[in-house]
Structures are given as structure tokens and as C-alpha cells.
Amino acid sequence: MIHPISKRKLTVGQQLCAIRRFFPDVRIRNKNGNLSIFLYLQPTPMSRFYPIEIKIHRSTYTEVWLVGSIQKIDDIEFPHHYRIDKENNRVRLCLYHPKKFEWDRGTSIAENLIPWTCEWLFYYELWLGNGVWYGGGEHP
């Protein structure tokens, strides 16, 4: 279940390679060593495609943003997120518990962050429809 620290750190190159392999339609932009990975994710065949930007800051930390026109971005109960950037129409998603060792630099983005984003989007659509977050989780 929870496996702390023991994993080896993945290099950015290994991360990108895995992402490209599983999600061939990604676009990757490198700006002064800060990487942005753009992809569209559709949590179910009944769902919209959501534009996602994953930022890797100088190989150290990673952020996942939902970008583009975001429904109910003004809702005070907008589900699990770190930040809402209304000006730029984007929300930084909160996908894992920082203290539960669910994520560290050894964790694969392709195998963890991206599936978790899909699941976030799955529950987000249900939240849009119902006003209830069914995905569980914790609030700080």
C-alpha cells in the first residue's frame, strides 16, 4: 500500500518517456528548464475532453492544472484543489495526500498523477451534476 522513500528517483527524461509511451498525443514545452506537459483527458466516453497542464519545475516539484474554460470555477465548494487562478482560467488540482507518501520524485507521473487526474475529472463531472464529491479524500 504505502511505500515510503525506498524508490529510486526518476529522471525527467524517464518521466517524459513513460508519458509519451502511454499518452502519445501529449505536447511538451521546455521553458528554461521548466517543463510543461499538455494533454487532453476524458474520464469516460460520455465525458468532455479536459485540457490538462502538468508542470515540472526544474526537475523538482510537479503541479497539475486544469486549464481552459472551467465550469463552476466560482463555486466556493470547488472540489479538491490547491489554487484557483481565475484570471488565467485555471485550477491547480490536489490529487494526493502530501503526508501519506503517495507521491514523491520517484513516482511515475504517467502511472500515478495522470490516472489520478482522470479520476478527479470523473468525480468533477459528477460534482458538476450533483453538487456532491463522491471521490472521498481529506481536507486540510
Binding site: 476524458q42 475532453f49 463522491y134
Partner: protein, 382 residues
Amino acid sequence: MDKKEILSRLYRELAGTLNISETMTNEIVNSYKAVGSYLGNMEQALDINIYPQGSLSLGTMVRPIKEDEEGDYDVDLVCLLKNGQHLTAKEMKMIVGQRLSESDRYGAMLDEEGKRCWTLQYSDYHLDVLPCVPRTLQESTDTKIRLSHKDDNGIYSACFSNPKAYKEWFIGEMGTVFSQIREQYAAKRNVEIEEIKLFQLRTPLQIAIQILKRHRDIMFADKDNKPISIIITTLATKAYVGESDIFETISNIINKMDSHIEYDGDGNVLICNPTMREENFADKWKDIPEKKDAFHAWLHKARVDIIENPLNFADGMDSLMENMRATFGTKVVNETFEKYAEKAAVEREQGLLGINNKGNIIARENKEAVVPLKNHTFYGGE
């Protein structure tokens, strides 16, 4: 999971929320058994037997469209006076009515006389008690009954029906799907097959009929000429060819049910009781052609709402939810999606899910799954 699989899941959950609860079923069963033993004690010579017919016995009852927890369920009961073959149509009706009205308990609950039945009003349901006698004089395997029909002029005449045979036919048309589901139920609950009642099972045909009936109830909430349940049930059962998938069942039924409508030599519609050809469930369509139009309008709308729109025009689960609320009612649809979401959460916890290269959440064992969906904890503020 493709669109049809999602719809199969949603429709199964929907039928589950539409279904009458076990508690309510038990309450109803206890109530009608009490009526049966009261009548039985009062008229011992007639050997009275009460049993359900229609949607309760077939397991196709649906929650009434009132938005409160449990609305007013309509329960149809056969009240068979086993030794009453000598009674006239009027006599059989009067004996039962008399006995009910002279009871302190039932007298207070009794409505005015209906065309064919006596109605007892309970807080969450009403029992329509249909007095009838065996059609044949001597002991036989014939399950046909003779019942009493009172017309607008107050004249009583005999009608015939055969609810037991209808139920047998309904079960038979489900073929091996029925026996498999019954065996699974018996194994899961550790009960004998003989003890299982049809209404305890959830077969694809029952599920499809419940969804169709609910669609009809919402469409005709403020309209006349609502297609009657027995017509929907009969045509759906005739159209059913043993599918086990829910979406496939319901879409094939919707696409094929009107091909089972027959016509007599004069072009009048025949939707016959399959166990008693002389009973035409659509006999009123001759005098009220609006009923025929209403049926076809309903079937067309059902095709659009249940099959075509969800398959072709869904734009997000939220929009599907919105459309389904309009089609089936807010409360049941909210409950449906809640159960759907809860099941997805359990599947993720059990490690059964993965995603494909579009991001669709699918079964991990599906060939298209590129990575598994691992456990994690959503965090952060609202």
C-alpha cells in the same frame, strides 16, 4: 468501459432505486395476508385465497413519482373464492365488499366500490382486492378465473383472466437468464430455490420494464391516455429474447416491441394476453384512438430518451445526469449516480480499474488499459 457499458450500469442502478424496498414489500405482504385471513375466517365455506398479481408478483413495481420517500404504491391482489363457482358476478363482489365494510379495521380504509375491485387505503400504498372465482366447476389444473365487472350503468357481468398463467409465461420468456439469476440469488443468500419469489430477483427484463414504466409515468404525469402497465409488460416480454446485458435488453425491447402489436381483420389493434387470446389489453384503443397515438408517442420518446440521446449527445456525465433527471425524476437519478460513483470508488480501492490512452477509466484487465488506477487520497480545500 464504453458508453453502452456505462448506460447498463446506470440503468441497473436506476431500476434499483425505482424498485420497491424490501421493508415495504414485507409490509404489503403482511397487510394482504391479514386481509386474506380476515376474509377467510368470515367466509370459511368459500375457502378464500389472496395472492398478488400484476407488478408486485412480477417484480416490476416502480416507486410512485411523488418525490417523498415512498409514495402510494398500487398493489393488485387476486381474492379467489375457491368454492364460489356458483356465485354470480354481483354476489362475489358483494360478499367481499360486505365483509370488508363490516370490519372495524377495514371498513375505515375502504374506498367506494371500483369497477372490478375493492380498494383498501393504507398510508403508503393501497390494495386493490379483486374478488373472483375459479372459472371451471371441477377441480382442475385450469388457473383461469372469473371476475366481476360493473359497468357505468351499475350492471355486473363476468370477465375472465388468468394471472397465474401470465406469470408463468413471463418467467418462461426469460429462459435461462431467469434460472441463472435465481441460482445466483439462492447461492448468495443461501436459500432454497423454491422459496425465492419472482419479486426478489432482478432480471434484465424486470429492470427494463421498470425503466420503461418510470419513463411513462414521468411523460404522462399531467397527460391523459397513459399506456397501461400490462401493455408495456406484455410487449416488452414478447420482444425480449434472452439478452443478459441491461442496455442491450432495453434497447432491443424498445426497438422491437411495436412489432408485436397485432391487428384484427378490421384493422383494430390486438395486444392479446398471451395466455388467454380472448383478452385484448388494447380493447379500449378502438373507441379511444388517442390511446394508440399516446402509446406510439411514448415509445418514440422512450427511444430518444433512453437510447439515442445518451449514446449520441452526451456531453459530460453532468449533462447526462441533467437529461436523465428530466426523463426519470430528480431524486431517483441523484440516487442512481450516487450508487454508480460509490461502486467506482470501491472498484478503485480493489485495484480493478485502469485508464486507456484517452484517460477513460476502464477495467484494469481491459486490453486498452495502459496504466492502472492506484489508490490515493484527494486532498486540499474546497
